[in-house]
């Protein structure tokens, strides 16, 4: 593929608003996970909640989009000068030449969960202030984003569970290569809701503590929320040395089970190998792997085997979900931004919350932050239904 330039990027999660806070948290090995006190949830678990989401006010003209997911989206869009960068891109390319590709798993479903508590006791109808299209609808966050900027080009939400906001890079790449657009707003937004918390609880996949990816005693995920965005443009001839490029994407399906990964990580292997092939790189070229690393027994075992198969045991790797929690449909987008920070700042972020590394997984799992030059990074995102996506990001030099 022709390299694509992440000309601007930003992430807002439980470890902070924008890049500076995220980088500081990674450097300090600070987790954003805390005991769950969200809404009326009565589960004993830790979550990665973004502070201040409900205080965010949408512009009056977009009031019908008001829901937690779009508040979080707006909070994310207004960090690090990202919104200004999109407006500059509109002036350069035109509003119809910029696409919107965002990932989410549950969109604004919390709005519907709350509306179901206020049904008419006689008729069962939902309250009249409930608007499905602009809140709960899968498309809502992309629709909000295009209306916020006045973008008129192609727009879509990718919703393949926890691979969603990695796979948006694939859709944007194809649309740009086809010549339909010149730039793309990509990323993901997922926000806390009861469906995912009680749902993952029903599967026995929620940890009672802060999640411990790749720990021998790991016992499930910590759900988080996040908004992460990148502005993709074609790579110009001359770029700063620390500019971040997207070099390769691999996508596959497991054909195995709805809520368990293939035990040997067969689909994950294919995704990683295809990403390397597209980037024209060998496995030994990769300096760091940002693992999907959810901290479920099955994911980390399958991913560990797949990484071992493709890379052997020598490539440094870690999951950053011990810091951010598993932000589900936003995870690929958040971790893309963490990879961009790692490339620019020469930082391999440590995996947090490890007491004893899983001895059955023979990997160079990063337990302490490492400061070193980093040129190529691979990021994994795997989702329910066996949806796999691997991305390769690189420094321009």
């Amino acid at each position: 593929m022709n390299p694509l330039w992440l000309s601007h990027f930003t992430a807002t999660s439980s470890i902070g608003r924008g890049l500076d806070q995220a980088l500081a948290a990674l450097r300090q090995r600070r987790t954003g996970l805390a005991p769950c006190a969200f809404d009326t949830v009565d589960l004993a678990t830790f979550i990665g909640e973004v502070a201040g989401v409900d205080a965010v006010q949408l512009p009056a003209r977009l009031a019908e989009f008001d829901c937690r997911n779009n508040r979080l989206a707006l909070l994310g869009l207004t960090q690090d000068g990202f919104a200004e960068a999109v407006r500059t891109a509109i002036a350069k390319y035109g509003a119809q030449r910029i696409g919107v590709f965002l990932g989410t798993s549950t969109s604004g479903i919390l709005q519907t969960e709350l509306a179901y508590r206020r049904r008419d006791p006689v008729t069962g109808s939902l309250p009249t202030d409930f608007i499905y299209r602009t809140t709960h609808s899968t498309f809502s966050v992309a629709d909000f984003t295009r209306h916020y900027f006045g973008l008129t080009g192609p727009a879509v939400v990718v919703s393949s569970a926890c691979s969603s906001s990695a796979k948006v890079y694939g859709s944007a790449r194809r649309m740009m290569a086809a010549g339909l657009i010149d730039a793309a707003v990509v990323g993901g937004v997922d926000s806390l809701c009861l469906t995912t918390m009680y749902g993952f609880s029903s599967l026995g996949l929620i940890s009672e503590q802060a999640c411990r990816p790749f720990d021998a005693q790991r016992n499930g995920i910590s759900i988080g929320e996040a908004a992460a965005f990148a502005l993709l443009e074609r790579a110009p001839e001359h770029l700063d040395a620390d500019a971040v490029l997207l070099l390769g994407i691999g996508e596959s399906s497991d054909a195995y089970h709805m809520s368990s990964p293939h035990p040997d990580g067969l689909g994950a292997r294919m995704a990683m190998q295809d990403a390397l092939k597209m980037a024209g790189l060998k496995s030994s070229d990769i300096d760091y792997i940002n693992l999907h690393g959810t901290a479920t027994q099955s994911n980390d075992a399958a991913e560990g085997k797949a990484v071992q198969h493709v890379f052997g045991s020598g490539t440094p790797c870690s999951s950053t979900k011990g810091a951010t929690g598993h932000t589900l449909g936003a995870a690929g987008g958040v971790e893309a931004v963490i990879c961009a920070l790692a490339l620019q700042h020469g930082l391999l972020p440590a995996g947090l919350n490890i007491r004893q590394l899983d001895p059955t997984l023979d990997l160079d799992y990063v337990l302490d932050n490492r400061e070193q030059p980093v040129t190529h990074i691979l990021s994994n995102s795997f989702g329910f239904g066996g949806s796999n996506c691997s991305l390769i990001f690189s420094r321009a030099d």
Partner: protein, 265 residues
């Protein structure tokens, strides 16, 4: 003007009064009257028994239309990339979950939960057909068919591969129906290829346009087109059924639509 060209090699169709592609062509081209009746979803025989029991309407619908299209194209689903386009997830399942979460007993079942994922149908499709190729799972409200067609075309053109587009929407029960009135299930599946082959039915060339979307002449079919997002693709199927060179405009976003030139093969 950037255009995307592909060859349609197989079509699957299931919806109210539209039982499959061969019998629906006469209806869509106006040679037979359209007689609406509720969509009948077949049991997905290809799925293992446990998955078959758990599968919702979108799973049954996409397996029916997708397999019809792939069989017509003379292909095997294994190895074929796919694009799933739907306005939302399973409405019945969503209602059941929201009802439980608003009650004193919030212990939703694991099956309810994994069926709530927007990509449930894509997951079951991969399990049923054994395909490990990529699947793009999209949602764009009423623009979902157009978004799916664009994604499928960019796969065909940029990655030089065949792909199958599975556009489908399923009915919403009350009280969600009042907020999102999708009355019934309708699915369209298209096998798209980068090169012309013996089984090609038509060549399509697609570009973005400001023109307004074409309507269907038959009042009942036109109301179906507007009621179910996947049915926004029916003018394309009508154009293919007419077996003549045709230019038409498909609905997409409020800001842009899809201009389609059809040439029969």
């Amino acid at each position: 003007m950037h255009t995307l060209t592909a060859y349609i090699e197989g079509i699957g169709l299931l919806g109210p009064g539209l039982t499959d592609w061969p019998t629906s062509q006469a209806v869509l081209s106006g040679r037979q009257p359209y007689q609406p009746h509720k969509t009948v979803l077949p049991s997905p025989a290809l799925l293992p028994a446990a998955e078959r029991r758990r599968s919702g309407a979108a799973v049954k619908l996409t397996l029916a239309t997708g397999l019809e299209a792939i069989a017509a194209a003379g292909l095997d689903a294994a190895g074929l990339p796919s694009v799933f386009a739907a306005s939302g997830g399973d409405g019945e399942n969503c209602h059941a979950i929201c009802e439980m979460l608003a009650s004193d007993d919030r212990q939703i079942s694991p099956t309810r939960f994994h069926n709530s994922a927007h990509n449930a149908a894509a997951g079951y499709w991969s399990i049923a057909t054994g395909t490990m190729a990529t699947s793009s799972v999209l949602g764009a409200f009423d623009a979902s068919f157009g978004a799916g067609l664009l994604e499928a075309l960019t796969q065909v053109v940029v990655d030089n591969t065949r792909t199958v587009l599975l556009a489908c929407d399923t009915a919403y029960p009350e009280p969600l129906y009042s907020a999102r009135p999708i009355p019934d299930a309708l699915g369209i599946a298209l096998v798209l290829a980068p090169q012309r082959s013996a089984q090609a039915l038509a060549q399509i060339t697609v570009s973005l346009t400001d023109a307004i979307a074409d309507q269907l002449d038959d009042a009942a079919l036109e109301s179906l087109r507007l009621a179910i997002p996947a049915a926004r693709g029916l003018p394309l199927l009508r154009g293919i059924a007419l077996r003549q060179d045709k230019h038409l405009v498909l609905d997409y976003l409020d800001s842009t639509r899809l201009a389609v030139a059809i040439t029969p093969c």
